[in-house]
Amino acid sequence: MESAESQIAEWRAYVATAPGLNGHDVDELEDHLRHQIADLNAVGLTADEAFLVAVKRMGELDSLSREFAREHSGRLWKQLILRDEDEPARKSSDWFETLVFAVAAAVVVQIARLAAHFPEEEPTWLARNSSMFVLPFLAGYFARRRQLDARRLLLTAAPFVLAALMVNLYPYREDSATDVLVALHLPVVLWFAVAYPYMGGTVGSHERRMDFVRFTGEWFIYYVLIALGGAVLTALTALILEPTGIDVEWLPEWVLPSGAAGAVIVAAWLVEWKQRVVENMAPVLTMLFTPLFAVMLAGAAVVYAVTGLGGAFDRELLSVFDALLLVVLALVLYGMSARDPSTSPDWMDRIQLVAVVSALVLDVMVLGAMIARIGELGFTPNRTAALGLNLVLLVNLAGAAWLAARFLTRRSRLHRLERWQTTYLPVFALWACSVVLMLPPLFAFT
């Protein structure tokens, strides 16, 4: 019996190393194995024979692990392990491909900068198009990685071409507000356009949409890390060169735009290939910041509810609030994408609900102030864009709060909440699109 136990323990340790399986899964499989062994013992097999037959019946660990990963794509990115089955192994030229795209983006940004004589001059077309110089390369990078066919390549390129035409053919007036709005919203539109090649064209799949949310969060973390490292490096280079008398004035304007552009691609590559690192870091970060934001939001909601709005809601504050609400949404979305959907509600879900409800209260107050302002002074491009964004956020937060409350009281499942968010993603994309395409003509390009 002693040896049977140690055999099972060894098997357990071996199974636990498989990607895609967590502790509960291994417990469940072990229970199964023990039952099977007991039954085989009962029909007269020896302990050794019973163990061997039971393990054999359990199936090969490789295919089992793949099957688990297919089901729990959130635990581990399925494309990582599914790849060894379906696709030939990645060549070592992988980093080279990344480098080509990164350098291309960096060079294009530099050409645009020189053409615009930035920073001496600041033509509006530069700000408006800045995302246009970089994100097509990211889309191209994913199109190549996912080996899209011709039809999907066309569908990948279409939004970029369309956006480039619209953004540059519109006759914006001098000091136009819609121009600035387009500069702010175009990156969002193009980021959603990157989602298409990222998902390999399967934009209807909710699982793949969640993967894209996860990718976005992790890409952001890597990007911030690269930016921090880059800033330290640039600052040190400038300091080191200073005593030699070499003029380092030119350094930032060459290094910053190109570095920022190249880092977009490199961060995407890191997300794809150094998955495990971020997988450990991201849940920790959300766990750290969700409670802090929840406290801050709840405090703000209470303070504003007590003191009332008054004249406090001026334009700057409104945009601060919008940014805040977006951060909350990002935290909630990302926290959800990093969560193990099979566990029951815990304290983190409660804290998240507090954050969402507080954000909802704030959003309602912001909306009230905004509608009052519009009633008083009429529509402007800025007010329209802010009003639309707040309405879009309001519906999303209300739905999320309702479903989260039902999940916490165990009347609904987390799956519903996830579905709500992944179903809602196109609404954000559509809103950003309409700001870029429809708002400028509506307000006569002012």
């Binding site: 509960h24 899964d25 417990d27 469940e28 499989l29 229970d31 199964h32 023990r34 039952h35 099977q36 039954d39 019946r57 359990m58 199936g59 295919s63 089992l64 099957e67 688990f68 297919r70 089901e71 729990h72 959907p341 099979s342 499942r413 799956h415 519903r416």
Partner: protein, 119 residues
């Protein structure tokens, strides 16, 4: 007789749902029931049952609960939900349609429909 791999995979969901419709159960017991029902003809790789069960849970067809029975180890029990019942009814309709079609082109076989209790 060896049943084709695709057919085994396709029948797995309705089989598991139907077994859980008889009452809550856990992994090993479900698998034993499958073997008994098919007279050992349906060969499953044991481990594959669990990803399937987890998928049913994600779709909300079953709920789960970790419990420790008086005599045994802690294990996960699976229970059919109302949504699961609806999914089972839907599956049944599909299978009845398929078997009816097969019955019609296989005259005299008398088989699958009676097996589903729909003759």
């Amino acid at each position: 007789m060896r049943i084709d791999k695709d057919l085994v995979a396709a029948s797995a969901t309705p089989l598991v749902l139907a077994i859980l419709a008889e009452g809550e159960s856990y992994g090993y017991a479900i698998l034993k029931r499958v073997r008994a029902l098919s007279g050992g003809e349906l060969e499953w790789t044991d481990g594959m049952l669990y990803p399937l069960l987890h998928r049913l849970r994600r779709h909300g067809y079953v709920t789960t609960d970790w419990r420790t029975p008086p005599e045994g180890r802690r294990r996960q029990y699976y229970m059919l939900t109302d949504e699961g019942r609806r999914a089972l009814a839907d599956q049944q309709r599909q299978w009845v349609t398929v078997t009816r079609a097969l019955n019609d082109v296989w005259p005299g076989s008398g088989g699958p429909l009676t097996a589903l209790g729909e003759a």
